[in-house]
Amino acid sequence: MIKRLSLLLLLVGLFLINPHCANVEQNQNIIKSVKVKEVPFKDVRSSIWKKAPVTRINVIPQNMTLPSLQTPTIQYINVRSLHNDNWIAFLLEWEDKTRDAVVDVNKFTDQVAVQLPLDPKSLPAFMMGNKGGRVHIIHWKAIWQDDIEKGYRDVQTLHPNYWVDLYFFSEPMIYAEGEFPLQPTTVDYFITPEALNYIPGAYARNPISIFHRTQPVEEAIAEGFGTFTTQPKQNAIGWGRWEKGVWKVIIAKQIVSDDPNDAPVPEKTYIAFAAWNGSDKNVGARKHYAPWVELVVER
């Protein structure tokens, strides 16, 4: 009996000291978006976020298509939502011991995404939608956050000692400050069509190979596995911070937009989530997800 009691006390104690357990909305199936005057789009620490209740969204490893994720490393995402009648924003927080914001053959970046249905009345499949049932995805990546804040994550970011005599047609032919051979540290030199010939992803205008991102998020539509398609018009915004083993990422979109590929935000709709842990080599379908959750926008 005493043993049981002390276990109970210990559990209660843990609950109290764990910041991610405190103040958690009991009903896991509803996220309430609270109206405020100003949404702190870039401030994950702003006290305004406290006005919104936290909903703990459990995530599970993707197990519906191949490749799948065998072992989860993320358990849940704590979600808060604010809006100001024009924009709706989500603050997503989840534990991740490592901040992974570079890519290499065997290195992957941390990521998170939200998904809303284009037609909330006939809800498509929660995993990337289905044929005829489109979903709007807003996808944030840690590497994009760093691209914007610190400059494009380049070869020399990862491998400072990579040494190349010459990149063909790079413009201008840089012989940096009396140094030879040159060691360009930015892709900005590669602007001529000839030089871009050697940067095929950029030449083909692949949305992954964008050197001058303005937002760390990408908007896409999808209607089933493997159909993720970048929207021609990018109007969502985002911002992320990693603090003491916790990612805090804001993703925001317009409530009413003239982009036909954007999901509407009526008073009641649905939202789904996905999260990737870079250090565990999560990428693409190797992800954690949470199916549709009700999203209530308090007007």
Binding site: N63, M64, T65, L66, P67, S68, L69, Q70, V103, D104, V105, N106, K107, I143, D154, V155, L158, H159, Y162, V164, Y167, F168, S170, P184, V187, F190, A195, N197, Y198, I199, P200, G201, A202, Y203, A204, R205, N206, I208, S209, F225, G226, F228, K281, V283, G284, A285
Partner: protein
């Protein structure tokens, strides 16, 4: 989803003499790009490597990329241990007496949650393309140099993408960003569709797709398709110093054309063999095995056809047609679609039947005077 339900189609793989599971239906191209590399002639000059590098992968983000590389076997490998890693995880690679493969392919051996049995190299694994270069498998005993044949061996293995009939890279891509061209079987990564998941890098057992650090998507050998479309052989073939390479098109396995040099060498004479056919991809670079290497090593690498291939190769001096086909290696930049031996010449023709190569079986000998009066200089005669 289990692996068996994922491999929805049964396809015919002539190299392992059986049907195998694959996620897509059998759909052979009208003609399949294919190559024959004569390992016995390669001198590891790396001209092919440099030709490819300067043509396609000199850009930022491609620093460690070699779509073509030449490594020294047994120890060399780019990326490091590309072959050892996959061989180790693919259990029981046995063949029966009829040449049928009894083990599992990389598709059939996929572990739970995966599309293909594979592994992902580290960045560092690409950083030593010349590791093991010129290292022999063992020490040459004292005096053995002079006594004739010694036991120490090594050989050069030139490698490019195999433009496989059943590509693992294509099967593994969840975005269907990789496709195989109907007109020539060249396997390409759509540079606007790839999202850099690196599933192909993980899946290709030959490690012939590469991740670009700057564009953050994957790339691979494109078979020099702009040249192919003009009726020319790829850069690595055109520039080969050792004239070890011949590129052409392979017919479907059930309808070989004897006058097509590729069909002749691969299907008819069976002198050129696929690399690790047991992986199940039906790769389309065919190698004439090195004749001086222990058979066990070669069986593992090229399957059960090794003995016959070496025997045939050694007999080429008495087989004018085979010798003729060999003479056409490196004889023209154009793609030879058919060939014949006429008198003391091997003749190669393009798809219109025009002669594009004429190679004598014996080069004529010219003896020039020691002193050339016309230009007033001394000359040596070189055999």
């Amino acid at each position: 989803m289990s692996v068996t339900s994922w491999l929805t189609s049964k396809v015919k793989n002539w190299q392992i003499r059986r049907e195998m599971g694959y996620p897509y239906e059998e759909s052979r191209p009208e003609k399949q790009i294919a190559y024959v590399f004569d390992i016995n002639k390669c001198i590891a000059c790396q001209t092919c490597t440099v030709a490819c590098k300067t043509t396609w992968t000199s850009g930022k983000g491609q620093e460690i990329m070699f779509w073509n590389n030449v490594e020294t076997k047994p120890y060399g490998g780019y990326p490091i241990k590309w072959d050892l890693n996959i061989l180790k995880s693919l259990d029981g690679q046995s063949w029966d007496k009829e040449g049928k493969y009894n083990g599992k392919t990389v598709f059939e051996a996929a572990p739970p949650g995966e599309r293909v049995l594979g592994w992902l190299p580290e960045e560092e694994d690409y950083s030593y393309p010349n590791i093991g270069e010129d290292e022999c498998a063992g020490i040459v005993e004292k005096g053995a140099f002079f006594s004739g044949i010694h036991k120490a061996w090594m050989f050069y293995l030139a490698r490019i993408c195999n433009h496989c009939t059943y590509p693992a890279c294509l099967a593994a891509c969840p975005r269907k960003a990789i496709y195989k061209r109907k007109e020539d079987g060249i396997v390409l990564i759509d540079q606007s569709r790839c999202r850099g998941y690196r599933e192909c890098v993980r899946a290709c057992p030959y490690k012939r797709t590469f991740f670009n650090l700057v564009t953050r998507i994957s790339e691979k050998c494109i078979g020099c398709y702009p040249l192919i479309e003009k009726g020319e052989q790829p850069r690595c073939v055109q520039t080969c110093i050792g004239k070890i390479r011949l590129q052409g098109f392979l017919s479907k396995p059930d309808s070989p054309q004897k006058d097509n040099p590729l069909d002749f060498l691969v299907y008819v004479k069976k002198v050129a063999l696929p690399l690790y056919p047991q992986f199940g991809l039906e790769p389309n670079v065919y190698y004439i095995p090195p004749i001086h290497v222990p058979k066990e090593f070669l069986y593992q690498m090229f399957g059960p056809g090794v003995d016959k291939a070496i025997e045939t190769y050694k007999g080429a001096k008495d087989d004018k047609e085979l010798l003729g086909a060999f003479l056409l290696f490196g004889s023209t930049d154009k793609i030879i679609r058919s060939f014949k031996v006429e008198g003391d010449y091997a003749l190669g023709f393009n798809d219109k039947g025009e002669m594009i190569a004429k190679v004598p079986f014996k080069e004529p000998v010219y003896i020039r005077p020691y002193f050339d009066k016309k230009v007033g200089t001394y000359r040596h005669n070189i055999p």
